[in-house]
Assembly symmetry: C2
């Protein structure tokens, strides 16, 4: 029954609050404060605005909802449950934060249908949302017709103070303002509390003014605890502003309803406990048992099911008409939605013989992008302001994604690596077949590593084009020369790290990066040129490592090389073989793929009896002992680099035929 004093709105809002209180209490772990404070905005947004279909969480044209303040995930789980998603039953909520549950401690796309982005690392969600909005704007510009807006949805975000303090959101929101992403609407939960206490210990800037400076439309709802109308009016106003993203600052009380803990950091990330939960029940006039939701609230929320079915069926009708009127566009659109690559997408990937002029692999990469571009229209990406160094342009195309040209697929991210990665993730989260890629110098992978990790964790097939991959960078010096970056990426689960050694291997790396839609790829590419090898091929890259050049009989020594050092291995092997030794050369463009091969294959390539193994790679040796063991050796880097011409650096740090031969001979004994 509804308490006499409680309106239906209040009942619905308190349903969220109490589910959060009860779930966190039961698991004795979690963050009740945000769901209790944000319940009104969550309710207003989901009940009155959000286009979605609970019975088909992946319906394409749904509005995207991003809970950027991911620790407040009980808000999202409550909304998913209350509006009727099968992915979050009341039993799932009772299993909050338990092993194998669908309600993990932060929202994870791969665990729970209806979760649009994996959130928790602050600032990431709002930045992903910029990517979602870019994807929507691009697809709308590409596919919509005056009579058929088959791509037409908003991207909504709830973000907190933490999200606004993180630099990645500053980068992404500055770009969103530049791009005038009018269908991006962020609700900023201004609760004045962070873990260290009141925000005024470290965060006193004027957030709205900052967003205004970015070119956003900004509003303030002073009483976000009870003013549902105010919130709804602000969202309605934001929807009307189509040439600017919108930020609505909504002032709330963290832990609203808890008499002793609300408005304190204590309610941010700890259970209320049973006693305070009871007091909260009293204060909110909540007469129900833990995990009990009144029928009136369910009835109200679950109107979303019928509404959602209607929205989807209207859209299906629209799509049907579109299919009839625009068969080729719809074929492409629907293929993309199915996640299928077009026939012949890879047919123009170039192959090379050893007679072909050697190039830098960043140049080969540019040729690959040019070869893929016309056949793979879903490829979309750019560079963090290094287009003409990363060679990330798609040759033959001009123009870029700008407010007046969202149909273009080239993205100028500006000098914003972290936002770039988060936006690429957002484009991938849109799950509409777009294949996002982005370039910067390899060493600056460090700037975006937080989001690269989320690509890997969330199984997003983002392609990172990371050029200038060693001390071969040369004059720019140690701040620009990656040493530990390649191993640091190889250490990351579910990340494919490619370091191709010539043109064929670069083509192969692209082929695999495109095919792997559930794993991100890091393409580590050279600034400097290298020859094409005789026995490399696109196909062999799929093995991760393979015998590039062999000797007669059992090798005395195995040389393992990657990237720009591959040819050095070949030349050293030739010298050694000329002087009567038996040396095999293995090319290892992708350690992760090699690891996945059969034991038989791995034994063929790296016979366990041959313990004299020498790896040559202009990076930290860290990680290579898996193949060289205790008896092998390495020609690698064990310090930061230096500013000098690249060839000079290579020589000084021992990447010479002489040094490789000498180390090999020492091993052979």
């Amino acid at each position: 029954m509804v308490a006499a004093s409680a309106s239906l709105d209040t009942l619905c809002i308190n349903s969220i609050r109490m589910l959060a209180v009860d779930a966190v209490n039961k698991s004795n772990s979690g963050h009740p404060g945000l769901p209790m404070g944000c319940a009104p905005m969550g309710y207003a947004l989901w009940d009155k605005f959000l286009h979605h279909n609970p019975k088909n969480p992946t319906w394409f044209n749904r509005d995207r909802f991003v809970l950027s303040a991911g620790h407040g995930c009980m808000l999202l789980y409550a909304l998913l449950h209350l509006t009727g998603y099968d992915s979050v039953s009341i039993e799932d909520i009772k299993e909050f934060r338990q092993w194998g549950s669908r309600t993990p401690g932060h929202p994870e796309t791969f665990e729970t249908a209806g979760v649009e982005v994996t959130a928790g690392p602050l600032g990431a969600g709002i930045s992903n949302a910029v990517g979602l909005a870019i994807a929507e704007a691009h697809l709308a510009a590409k596919f919509n017709k005056p009579d058929s807006k088959i791509v037409d949805h908003f991207t909504y975000v709830i973000m907190g103070d933490g999200c606004n303090q993180e630099g990645v959101s500053s980068e992404a929101c500055s770009l969103a303002g530049h791009l005038k992403l009018g269908k991006l609407i962020a609700l900023y939960d201004d609760n004045q509390i962070t873990i260290d206490g009141r925000t005024d210990v470290s965060f006193t800037e004027d957030v709205l003014k900052r967003y205004e400076a970015y070119g956003w439309h900004v509003q303030h709802v002073p009483n976000g605890n009870t003013d549902i109308d105010g919130i709804a009016k602000a969202i309605e106003a934001a929807k009307q502003i189509t040439d600017k993203p919108s930020l609505i600052k909504i002032s709330t009380t963290i832990g609203f309803g808890s008499p002793n803990k609300s408005d304190t950091a204590g309610v941010h990330g700890a259970p209320l406990g049973e006693e305070e939960a009871n007091l909260t029940r009293k204060q909110l006039g909540w007469e129900y048992e833990p995990f009990e939701i009144p029928k009136e609230a369910y009835d109200q929320y679950r109107q979303a099911i019928a509404k959602g079915e209607k929205l989807e069926s209207e859209w299906n009708q629209l799509l049907k008409n579109y299919r009839n009127q625009y068969p080729s566009e719809s074929a492409e659109f629907e293929r993309m939605l199915r996640g299928e690559l077009p026939n012949g997408w890879d047919k123009d990937l170039p192959t090379y013989t050893s007679n072909d002029k050697g190039l830098a692999t960043r140049k080969h990469s540019q040729i690959c992008l040019g070869a893929l571009g016309p056949n793979l229209t879903e490829l979309i990406g750019g560079s963090a302001d290094l287009t003409h160094s990363n060679y990330t342009d798609i040759q033959g195309e001009s123009g870029s994604f700008q407010p007046h040209s969202p149909e273009k697929r080239y993205l100028h991210f500006g000098v914003r690596e972290h936002a770039m990665a988060a936006i690429l993730n957002g484009i991938a989260y849109h799950n509409s077949g777009l294949i996002p890629y982005g370039g910067t110098f390899l060493v600056f992978a460090d700037y975006m590593r937080g989001s690269m990790r989320l690509s890997a964790l969330s199984e997003l097939g983002v392609i990172y084009v990371l050029t200038h991959d060693s001390i071969g960078v040369g004059e720019d010096g140690p701040t620009h020369q990656p040493i530990e970056t390649i191993p640091s990426l190889r250490a990351m689960p579910n990340m494919l790290v490619f370091r191709p050694g010539d043109g064929n291997e670069t083509s192969g790396a692209y082929k695999l990066a495109i095919e792997n839609r559930k794993r991100p790829s890091a393409l580590c590419l050279s600034r400097q040129g290298m020859p094409n090898q005789e026995n490399s091929s696109i196909e062999k890259v799929a093995f991760g490592g393979y015998v590039l050049q062999d000797c007669d009989g059992t090798p005395e020594l195995i040389l393992i090389g990657t990237g720009s050092e591959l040819d050095l291995c070949v030349q050293a092997a030739n010298k050694l073989n000329e002087s009567g030794h038996k040396v095999r050369v293995i090319s290892m463009p992708c350690v992760e793929l090699f690891e996945e091969q059969s034991d038989l294959y791995k034994e063929e390539v790296l016979p366990s009896s041959v313990r004299k193994r020498l790896v040559v790679e202009a990076a930290e040796a860290f990680g290579w002992h898996k193949y060289i063991g205790l008896d092998g050796d390495s020609v690698c880097m064990n310090r930061f680099g230096a500013s000098a011409p690249g060839g000079k650096c290579m020589d000084e740090f021992g990447f010479t035929i002489e040094n490789v031969v000498a180390k090999a001979k020492k091993l052979i004994g």
Copy 2:
């Protein structure tokens, strides 16, 4: 001779421009555009404002000058040379970007006296400058007396569009505004060009408005190419604003003077070439040969030498008086400037026996900070809004560094990990004996890795307090559970990565982290408790790895453990030894220090004849094969974690006595 039309100011300014043109041309590599555009502001600042002593680049009370746009390093080298620093002779400038030169491709503190911060990765320098200004404000509040302002200098910055796009600068500058760092003055080179072209492809925000939102004082000099007076007046006005940091936007033309390349991206990062250099000479009315500087310009610039000597000698007099009047303060101050630790600084670091209650190492860390606090007043730091999770507070102290209390040493960084690391670097760059530390969750090291790398490269003894170091985090789930983070840090040159296994080892890690003033330390600390070991000690940590528990005779198998898995190794070894096996347990709290031990020591600990080795660490195994080779095994993580109670995660992922024993037995055969 001076061209009739050229004023002395112009001559001085063009000296910078042409040194940049000539050096970049000679090395055929580099960035002439910024020095040519920023020469007027560089000249105005250095000639009229900057307090420094070219003959003693490390004079303590100098103003700090940070070239945040580090690629424009020829501006800095030109200024150092022209004002008479011995570190940059004209011969050094001719060796720009060559092997072993003192003029590398980006400014590096460890190569060139007079360079205050290593710059190049954009956004880092301005963020370091916030740290420099914090250091100044803190020391001033701590040591100055009404009659003796022995700490009293400005921090000046030149930053570009790239610096303003990077998120790290947004974080740091928001905090700088909050902290009202009135002696921080940034000159923003607004040249409207980035590498991808005009800034309007990606960067159209209102930068001044944004800084105003942060609480900065802002000004605009519309003609930065020739309006020296305007620049000087703006700097003068900024100096008068003592309760806000200042941003002066100075609109310039990149590559000013080059008739065909100025105001284009082409002049950003490529030599002008001989022909364009000649045309530039003509346009600027520059009648001198390459690397020739007219005497009038030298005479003007080198007044800095006499001025600097006077400034320093006045300060020396001030210090002398201070020494007489405030002997204990001056003793502390001067000790700090000498970089000496105080006597007995480590005397209260706790030691434990196995009877002492086990704690989480983050808790041991808090105890260490509390034990160091009173004896090591130069310890300064805080947390990126996780004080009560990282336990980074210094127990017994209250209050934090705020606008009204800069004498306090606790820093609330807000949810700004990257800025935290950059600010810690800045405090270290101040080189005044302060020992900076900062905490966040280990997994968020990814957010600040760009600046952690600069700690390592620039030899800064920053202490990173990284708690919640494994799946032991539990319910927060995979976004918060580091898997690859520890190996990724171990891969970094010059970074000490500690993962202590109990209380003694945590004390030992602190001792070494404090002592290593030229190497940063990453302390990886558990959320969850673990027992104190019988044979651990502070001293043994210095060996990096040591025999914690041995068997009789030659071991059949060696167990290697760290952190929270150390006790698991001990318990597994006990089981195995009970069942008649011979198993040694090695504790390896710091791989890097173990690597530095003698071959003899390493052989004693890890005899090369014992190939059956099992490492147990709740992190990616990546990197451990250096010790387990091809014949060992690991109980490690090879996937991302999961949301569940920490103990449950540990069990499910195989961190149990049973599993370790089983794997060990399999190895023993």
